[in-house]
Structure formats: structure tokens, C-alpha cells
Amino acid sequence: MENKEKILEVENLCVSFHTYAGEVKAVRNVNFHVNRGETLAFVGESGCGKTATSKAIMRLWNPPFVEIKDCSSMKYNGEEIMDMDKKRLQALRGNEISMIFQDPMTSLNPTMTVGKQIMEGLMLHRHLNKEEARKEALNMLRMVKIPDPEKNLDAYPHQLSGGMRQRVMIAIALACEPSILIADEPTTALDVTIQAQILDLLSNLKKEMNTAIILVTHDLGVIANFADRVQVMYAGQIVERGTTQEIFTEAKHPYTWALLSSVPALAKENKQELYALKGTPPDLLLPLNHCPFAARCEYCMQICKEQNPMETELTGTHKVSCWLQHPDAPKVESFYDRRKK
């Protein structure tokens, strides 16, 4: 964390899905920044806006069904992404900001060799000719530790295992040495042993290339090992953010407590039943002018159902949006701490 230069600043990001039922406000006024070379994790349950946010950064959503509202601002290296034209966006994607996706089984073109798929970006952004690109692609395969890279360069995706395919995806994404890599649940579709390998690989490459990573996940275990900072998302908003340390040891938001309590502890003497959060997230089709978590919160107060809490700054890095932080609010003991005892 020696380098604190902000590579990406997102302000007031609002993403809406226009469905037959109406407008679903999937991301609501989200603010955050990413420093050069750090790993920022988004965590939250399905549908909380993690993927919507990360795809919005690359403007990968297709209008008119998905709309990034005009009020949003995303500055990459000081340059407004919202104002970029098609050409500039194409130069940005895969070159300055890359993305890897959840399911490596379907994210590669089945009729194109792995090598060609890696070469594509290199030829496009770094203007290499075929031979140079092939050489570079071979290097990339070595870098992501694919065995027998010469042979696998000409393999088709179906000839590789899931873990190998995700390595190929990483090779594609990192080929042009982007400043930011968005990893949208990169290990969700892989089995546990492979997950660890992929994460190790990512964190090594990150150090080598000084690439910032935005890690989207619902796996707290992944975050604990891997992220520098964490943002907890719920119903399209960031409810708590802080360093990984802060989130795991000093969480203040009841939703974060619920997330932490839902992780099985591997202690032998632990006979405690695993915590399950009751209820479902609010319907994002409906207007939401109060705390989104109010309906499921154990500590819900009158004010929680009436107004959305402001973000309270606890330390320079740790911020939480919860009425419990209000000076007049009762002091409560976290059920997460209670369960740990």
C-alpha cells in the first residue's frame, strides 16, 4: 500500500435495468475509488449490484435495456469514462481495464484456439504482428503456469479443464498489462483446490505487474486472503467499507455481521449451527427511501424504516452506513461477537 495514487474514482454511480415490470435500480449512488496496485473486493449476496457495478466501469452494458445514469461519474486516471466515445472505450477495454468472468467454461470462444484468443488483444492494442503476438501469447501461457504451453497454445478451449480455462482467461485479460483487472467471481465456478491456485496466481501476477484488482465475490474466505480493502454491498448500495482487517475484526454493519456469521468455522469443538440470515433483499423495482436492510435487521429502529442513513466515517478507511452509528442510537452488541464467544 505504498502507492496511494487513485487509478479509478467512481462517484454517484447509478445503474438501472429497464425490464417489462419497470425500472430496476440495481446500483444506487455508489462511490468508491481504487488505488494503483491494490485489491479492492466487492462482497454481497446475489443481486446486490456487484456485477452491475463492475460491468458499468467498462461500459459493457448494452443500452437501452441497461442504463448508466447521467449523474454517474467514473474517472479512470482522471479521464471521465462516461464521456468516452466508442473508439476510446475500445482502446480502454482489454488494454487499460480488463475483466475476467465467472464461468471459464463459457467465457472462451469454442471455435477459436486459445492462442488466437490471447493474440487478438495483443494485435489490437499493442499492434504486434502475428508472429510477435504468438510469441507473447506463449509467454502469457507460461506466466499463468499452463503446462506444455507450446502445445496448449493451439488447443481449443474444450480440450482444457475449467481451472486451465480460467488461467487462459487471466492470460487474455493481463496480456496488455492493464492498470485495472476486474475479476467477477473468478473462482465461483471452480472447485476449491483450483480456487486457491487461481487466487495465488492472481496475487502473484498483481505484484509483478502492479495491476489493481477489483475482486467481485460472495466468498469471504477469498477476501480474507486476498483483498486490501473490502466494500460490502447490499441492495445496490455500499453499506460498509474498510480495510480487510477492519471488516473482519471491527465490522459495524448488521449486514456485515450476518455475512461473517454465515461462514462455517472449521473448529472441531464448534457445534454451533451455521447462521442464516432470514428474509430476502428488498425488491429493487420499488422505491427505497430508507435503510435497505431495515426489514431483515435484528436491531431495526423506527428511523431505519424512514430514512436512509448517511455514511459515518469511523477511521480514514472504515465507513459504515447505519443508524446504529448515530450518537443517540442504543449501543448494541453484535450478534457476530456474541456467537464467537
Binding site: 471455435t111 487478438e120 488483444g121
Partner: protein, 309 residues
Amino acid sequence: MGKYIIKRTFFAFLTLIAVVTITFFLMRSIPGDPLAGMARALPEETKQAFYAKYGLDKPLFEQYLIYMKGLFHGDLGESIRYAGRPVMKTIAETSPISGLYGGIALVLGTLTGVILGIVAALNKNRWPDYIVMFIAILGTTLPVFVLISLAQWVFGVKLGWLPPSGWGELKHMILPIAVSAFGSVATYARYVKASMLDTLDQDYVLTAKAKGLSDFQVITRHVLRNSLMPSVTIFAGSVVGVFTGAFVTERMFAIPGIGFYYISSINNNDYTMVLGTTVFYAVLFIVMQLVLDIVYTLIDPRIRVSGKK
């Protein structure tokens, strides 16, 4: 690969035998015989002489064996209805006619259909899509004979631009080609649109986009090939359809193609002619399937037959 082809050829051969056998016995189960349509009151001896000439007096199973033996020697027999005309010769004379105008129609129709399908998919829910789908629905729902009558009436009678029917000159080909191509356009436009929309939704298209490729590059490099593959499957049927599907077209335009003769031979209980034509169709179909399976392995690496490595 060689082993695969040999295996496929063997099974193709079995299929062919099955087709011939079934057709043989089905034809014989139709009431009446080749004489029934010709003359009502033939003297009994004449009839018997006729049956004897074509071996129709022998037990059915023996006839079957004789036919199969001929088939293995490449002999499809002689038309029963038109004495002295070998079935093989009729097929050789009539199928190129069907193949000529049908082939042109297929190529034009398929190309147009594929292009329209792509246009429709890329403009989903906008006017080009609506127009293409209107054409496609018209093409699939309108019976061929209605379409043909309409074309003959408008271009042949009302406007007088083209001869409504007949064969021999270039101008005779235009209407049959247009009508036959229309069907292909409709089929392929719908098919390609559906598979293209499906492909556009695939994760790897997003990967391609996230790489920074332009829309045009994404489509030409990642979408087209994958979305045209399903169409290859129906192309086999279309090729055979050039010959078989032309029954109505050839009748109505009075084109002396193979479809024209197929229908009349069925009506006449011309056993050898029907069997011969069926064999021709079956061989064509089986060969096309085999060719397409091989083509398929070339364009889709996932079904490349084992033994590649």
C-alpha cells in the same frame, strides 16, 4: 478420420438397404398394380404375359431378392409403365434439370436468407427485423402452390413479363427459381436470426467485447462462425430438397425434372421407377449427411472426431 469415414459408409449402406426394403414392400401393399391405370379390360393372357415379363408373377419375396440383386449390380431396372426406358436413364436425364434451377435457387435463397437473418438479429426489435420476419413468416406459412399460382398470375398473366410455365429457355427458369428460393430465404432467415441471437448472448461474446474489439470484429470473429453452424445441419436437407421438394413446383410449372416423374410414377404404380427414384433420393441424402458430418468436424473443433491427437 479414415476409420470414421469407413464406419459411416458401412452404416450408410445399411440405411440404404433398409430404405429400399421398406419402400419395396410399401409400394406392393398399395392396392392395384401397374396395369390398373392403363387399361381396364385387358384379356387375361395379355395380363399374365405382362406380369411374367416384369417378373410380377413370382412370389413377392423372390421379386425382392431379384430387385436387390439388380441393385447391387447398379441396375435399377426398366420402367414398367414406359417400356424400354431404363430407370437409370430417366433419373440421369431429369435430375440435372431439377438440380440446375433448384441449385441456383438454393444458393441464392440460402445466401439471401443468411444475410437477412444476420440483419434481423443485429437489429432486433427494430424495423429491419420486423420486415425480415414478415418475409420469413410469409415464406413458411404460404403454401407453395398458392405462391406459384400467384407468381404465375401476376408475372405471367397480368404483367406478361415471363412465361407462366414451360421449360427450355432461360426465361422459363426465372419464376421457378424465385419461388423455390423464397422458401430457402424464409427458412434460413429465421434459423440464422435465432442462432445469432443465441450466440450474441454467450459469455464469450462479452469476453470479446471486453478485449476491446469493435462491434464489427466481435461479430465477424466470434459471432458469425458460431451462429452459422446450426444452419449447416439443415443445409443437408435443403440440398436433397432441391430434388425431392420440387414435386409441386415442377408439376405446376411443367418442368420435366425428377420430381415431376416421381409423382407420375407413384400414380401409375410404376414400381421400378418409384424404387429407383427413392434409391436415388436415399443415396443423395445419405451422402449429403456424410459430407456434412465431415464438414462439421472441420468447422467445429468440439466435434472433431477422436484420434486427432
